[in-house]
Symmetry: D2
Subunit: 368 residues, 4 copies
C-alpha cells in the first residue's frame, strides 16, 4: 500500500522564488498543502509575542478549553503533539504495561506504516483480520476470550488496549453502535479503547457518520483529533477524558522526544481549528469533492473496492489505462489487484478546489 | 537547574484577540518567540502549494544543499527534525550499538533534561564531571583507557560515542583545538563524536568562538544545527558528513515518531536560515545584548559564575535582592548558591531588542 | 496452543521425602525430567572444584571445541545460554539493527509463546502464514521482494533476519534443500538466517531428517543446539559460524541478564552431550516411542494433522473420548479442531521408557 | 573494580578427566564452586521425576512456603530466577513506570556491572555518591526533595524506586535503623524500596548484622535472597511481601527470557537452602575465614579500606608486594589506590576450608 503516489512528480522550484510547475492534478495524499488561512493569520499575528514554553502558555490552555468543550468532557487531559506516529507511540506506551500489546486491524497504521514505533516502545501489535479496514467488536471479544482461555496465556503478550482508526486507513467508518459495542468489550476486560483520528475531520464532515466528538469522548479512553491532515500545518490533539488515567503524561511526551519547545504553535493551531467549530466543517470540501470523484468513477464503471464515504476513494484500474491516467494525475498506488489491474487511492483534502476536482473528473470521463 | 523562570509570569491573552500584558522584561529563555520574519514570510507565501511529504520535496532538498555548502561537506546526509531532545535520541540511537552508551558531561542535556529519552532507546549516559559545563579530551581519553584496562569491561556499558554541546548548557565554548583533541581520542578508540548545537547560532555569532561550521563538519561524525532557539519556529538540522555512516536514517527517524509529514516546513525554515548566510549572523543581537547585560552586572559587582560569552549569562544574586529583581524581570532559576544566594540565568535571543536590553540594564543598575 | 496439558495433574510430593504419585502417563511435554545421567555424574564430580566464572573456564572451552568440531566450523563463536526464549532474544537483538524485524512463521515460538521478548528488545516479528508449522523460501523471497518494491518501505519495519525452527513447533522438518534455498534468498537480500534448535536432537535422531549439524553450520548465520528439551538440565548452545558476525556478543548476553555466573555448569552439560557424539543419538528413544505412538493412533483411525516425524505427535480426538483419555494420560491441548473435536499433542523425550510407551499404546488401543 | 582477579590463573583441566592444578589459593570471588552437598544430593535424587514446568511444580511451591515462613510474610509472592543481573532487571522493570528511574549508590551493581541491563529495559539508574558502598536515607530524602522542588522536574527522570544492596558491593551492612529510615522516606514519596541480596547469607551470618529476613520482609517492597553466591548452583529468590504489588509478574519474567523451563531446579535448591534454616547458617564459614584473614592483614599493618564484616575483605597493598602475593593467591583487583599501591579484594565463601584460610594467612604473614 502506498504512502506516496508512484505517478507523483515533485513540483519544481526554480531559482530563488518558489514556483510550482503544475503539471499534474494532485490527488496523491492529504498532507501536501500548508495550513488553513486562519492558522497562518494567527501564526503571523502572534509570531513575535513571548510565551512560556512546552504548551503551558495561555493560547494552548485556551485551545484545550475549546477541545474540552466541543468534546463535552470538561476535565479531560488534552495535549498537543506534532505528528500521528508520534502520538500513537506516546499514547500506547502511556497506557500499556510493559507486558501488554495493542489489538489492531492488520491494516492499522500502527502495525504497518510506523516503522516499528510501537515495538520500539517494547509493545507488540496484536493484529486481527480486517474487513474494509475495520475490525469488529465480536472479533475483539473472541480474541480476548480465547486469550484468557488459553492455558498458556501467561506466556503470551497480554492484550492491553484496543486501537481503532476513525475513519480507517481504508476510508471507512465505525458506527456509534459499533463503538458502543467495543466499549462494552473493553469494559468487560478492563482495557482501554483508543481511537486514532488522523483524518477525523473527514469523518465529522461526512453525512454517513453518526459518531460525534462527544460520542468519542464518552466512549473512548483516549483518542486524537488529527490536525496534520485536516487543516493544520502539523499537530494532533490527544484527548484523555479521565485526566487521572495517565499520570505524568507530560513526562512521557518529553521522554519520547515529542514535546514541542514552542508549544504554543500547536495550541494556536487547535485554537483556530476549534474557533467557531471550524474543525467540524473543515472537511466538507474534501467530502464533496470525493463524492463527485466517486460518482464519476462509478459512472465510468470502475469498481470502488471499499465502502469509503470519506476523503479517500479506492478504485480498481486497468494497468494500461492507469499509465495514461498517471500522466495527468498524481494518485497513490494502493495495491496490486491482479496481473492486469491495480487498486489506486485518490485523496482529497480540506482545501479541495472545485476546479481541480472538475479537472480530475474530466480526466476520468475522457480516459479511454 | 531551571528550564523556565520562577519569576516568570505568563503573558495574558485577553478575549479573542491575542494581546500581551508586558508586565515583565522577558529574559527567562530563548524559545519564547516565534520565527524570524523571513521564515514567516516564506511560510505564508508557500502555504498553499502542494509538495510531496516527509522532507523529500525540493524546498527541503534546496535547504540540504545550502547546509552542505556552508559546512563544506557536499555529500553529507542532512535531515531536518523537529526538536532537540528528539534529535539527540534519534542520532544517538542511530549511531550506537545496543550495548553501548554515550559519554557526556554530567550537565549535558541528554543526561539531565530529556526525561530519560536516551535510556528509552536502551542506552546509558556515561557522565563525566564537568567544569564550566565542559568536559576535556583528556578526561574522555582517561575514561576510555580505564574502561578497556578494567578486566571487567565486558560486564559494563561500552562507551560508544562522545556527546558535546556547543555552546554548552552553561554558555561556554569548546575551542577548535579542543575539538581536534576530541577527534583524536575518538579516532583512537573508533567512536563517533557528536555535537549538540541547540544554540549553535550563538556560538557562531560570538567573537570568542573559533569553531566554524566547516570545522564542525570536518571534526564531527554528526552534529546538529539548532533552529528552535536560533530563529526558527522549530527544527534542527542534523548533519552527518559521511552519508554512509548511518544506513536507513530515514527509517530510524520514522521509528522514533520524529518524521514530519509536511517535511517541507522544516526544509523551508533552514532554506531561509541559510539564505545569504543568515544563520551565521542571526545570533549577533543576542550576543550584543548579553555582553551589555554581563557588563552591567559586573559593574554592580555581581559574580558571573561561568565564563559564558554566548547568549546565556549566569550570575549570583542575593535572595532578598532577587525577589525585587523578579518583580520586574522574568529570569531563570539556575541553582541554589548558598543559603542566602541564588544562581540565575538571563537569556537573550536572536530577536533581542535594544530597548528591552536597556530596560533590563536600568533595572540592574537601580537594584539596591 | 498449549504449553502444558489441561489434563496434567502435578505429581505429588509428600512430607519431606520427594515421592511421585504416578497417577498418569506423562506425555504432556519434553521438559519434565532432569538431565541425562552422564550430566548428573559430571556435575557431582566437579561440584567442588573452583573455576573462573562466566563461561571462561576450561570445561566450557572444551565444550566449545566439541561443538565446533561436530559442526565443522573450527572458528565459530559458541556461547552457552540458559533457556530458549532468552537465547532467541539475545541472538535476534544481537543481529538486528534497531529498525529491523525478524521474519517468522505465524506459529514460530518467538511470535507466540515468548511473551513479547522480541518486542521487549524493540523488534517486530514479521509473521508469514505457515503450512505444517513451516514457511517456504519462496514465501520469504516474495515478502522481501514486495517489501523493497513497496514505495513506502522506508516507513515500514525492515525485514532483517529469517527465523526458522528445526524441528518446527509442529514437529515437522525442513529439508537440506529447503535450507539451501533459504540461504540463497538470505544471501540475495544480505540478511542472516537463524535456526531455533530447541528440539534439534529430535531432528538429528530422525531417519527422515537430512540436515546435519555441519549442514546447519554451513547454511546458517546462527543457530542454537537445544539442551533443555534434549537431555540437559538446562542450556542452549548458540553457534555463530563466523565469529566476527557479532562483536561483543558476551556483553549483549550480560545486558540481557543471560550470563550465568557459574558458566561452567552450562559448559559441562554440553561437554557431556557432545562427548562421543551423545547428542546425535540422544533423541532416538523419543523418536522410536513417537513412531510407535503414531502407528497406534493411526491404526485406530485417528487423524494425524501434521506430518511430524519427530518427538511430537498431533492427532484429532473426539472430545468425549478425550475426556476419558485424559484420565489416564497427561497430554497437551493444542487447539480446538471443531465443536466436537480437539487437536492434542503427545510428546516423548530422550528418556522415553519402553514400558511407558507401551502403557500409552494400550490406553490408545483400548479407548472406546 | 574487578570481577575476576588479575592474578587469577584458571585451574587446568587435563585429558578427559577433570582435574585441578591447585597452583594458587583461590580468594578471587565467591561463585567459583558448585552447590552445597544437600543440593547436589536432592538434584540427583529427583533427577528423573517428571514435574510440570515453569516453577509451578510442588517442589517449587514447597520452597516458596519455606521462604514465606522464614520471612514471616505468608502471602508473599516468591519467584525463583536464575541470576542476579536478571533478577534486578526483572524486578526493577516490574515496579517502575516507563518514565521512572531507580536511585542507587554510584557503586551499586545495577549501575556498574550489569552491562546496561537496566537501561535495556528503558530505565535510568540515578546514582548518588556512596560512602563505604552505602547511601544514606538522608541523601535519598534530599534527592527526592530537590527533585520535586526543581521546577523542571517534569523534564527529568522521576525517581521511582530505591535500590540498596545488603551487604553492599563493598561488604558493608545497612543497619535495621537505616532500613527503617529508608522505609520512611520511601513511604513519604510513595516509592518502593528494593534490596539486592546477592550475598545476603553473608550478612545473615555476620554477628554485626541486625537485619533479619523478617525485617527485610517488613521493610522492603521487594528483595532477593541470593543463591548463586551463597551455596546454590544458581538461583535467586525474589520476595514481594505484598503479592498484589506486581500483577502478572510471571509474564514479566517470561518476557525477560528469565523463566526457567525446568523451574523445579530452582525450587529444589531453595527448598534445600531453607530446610532446617540452612541458609541462615550457610555463610558462617565464610565469615569466620574472612575475620581471620582481616585480622592477619591488620596485624601486618595493611589498611582495610572499608568497614566490611562480611565475606569480602578489601585492603591496600604495595604494588611490588602484590606481585609476589599474586604468585600464590588468586585475588581480585579492586582499584588503583595510588601510583604505588592497589586495593585488592579477598573473598571467602560458604565452602571456605580451614586449611585454605590458614594457608592464605601464612602467605600474608610471610610476605616481606
Amino acid at each position: 500500500m502506498g504512502i506516496m503516489g508512484t505517478g507523483f512528480m515533485a513540483h519544481l522550484l526554480k531559482l530563488e522564488k518558489i514556483t510550482m510547475d503544475e503539471e499534474k492534478l494532485g490527488f496523491a495524499c492529504d498532507y501536501m498543502k500548508g495550513a488553513h488561512p486562519n492558522i497562518m493569520k494567527a501564526m503571523t499575528e502572534t509570531n513575535m509575542i513571548s510565551t512560556v514554553g512546552y504548551g503551558k502558555d495561555e493560547i494552548s490552555e485556551r485551545a484545550r478549553e475549546r477541545v474540552r468543550k466541543v468534546c463535552g468532557c470538561p476535565k479531560a487531559a488534552v495535549e498537543f503533539l506534532v505528528g500521528g506516529t508520534q502520538t500513537n507511540a506516546v499514547v500506547i506506551d502511556a497506557f500499556l504495561r510493559p507486558y501488554q500489546g495493542v489489538i489492531a486491524a492488520e491494516t492499522g497504521h500502527i502495525g504497518c506504516h510506523e516503522a516499528g514505533a510501537i515495538e520500539f516502545g517494547g509493545h507488540k501489535v496484536l493484529t486481527l483480520k480486517q474487513k474494509d479496514g475495520k475490525i469488529s467488536p465480536e472479533q475483539v471479544e473472541r480474541y480476548l476470550e480465547d486469550f484468557y482461555n488459553d492455558e498458556s496465556f501467561e506466556h503470551m503478550v497480554m492484550p492491553g488496549m484496543v486501537y481503532l482508526s476513525q475513519p480507517t486507513e481504508y476510508g471507512t467508518l465505525y458506527t456509534k453502535e459499533q463503538l458502543q459495542a467495543f466499549r462494552r468489550v473493553c469494559d468487560a476486560y478492563h482495557i482501554p479503547l483508543y481511537v486514532d483520528g488522523a483524518r477525523l475531520a473527514y469523518a465529522l464532515a461526512c453525512p454517513e457518520n453518526d459518531v460525534s466528538l462527544k460520542d468519542m469522548a464518552s466512549l473512548c479512553d483516549a483518542f486524537y483529533i488529527g490536525g496534520t491532515k485536516c487543516g493544520a500545518m502539523f499537530g494532533e490533539a490527544v484527548v484523555i477524558p479521565d485526566p487521572n488515567a495517565v499520570p505524568y503524561f507530560f513526562t512521557i511526551i518529553k521522554q519520547h522526544g515529542a514535546l514541542l519547545a514552542k508549544g504554543r504553535l500547536l495550541g494556536l493551531q487547535f485554537d483556530e481549528l476549534f474557533k467557531d467549530d471550524l474543525y467540524l466543517r473543515i472537511g466538507q470540501p474534501a467530502i464533496k469533492a470525493a463524492d463527485q470523484i466517486r460518482e464519476a468513477l462509478q459512472e465510468k464503471g470502475y469498481q470502488m473496492i471499499y465502502p469509503s464515504f470519506t476523503n479517500q476513494s479506492f478504485c480498481v484500474m486497468e494497468n494500461e489505462k492507469l499509465q495514461r491516467f498517471g500522466d495527468k494525475v498524481s494518485y497513490s498506488f494502493w495495491e496490486k489487484y491482479d496481473d492486469s489491474h491495480t487498486v489506486i487511492r485518490l485523496a482529497t483534502d480540506w482545501a479541495a478546489a472545485e476546479e481541480e476536482t472538475q479537472a480530475l473528473i474530466d480526466v476520468i470521463r475522457k480516459l479511454a
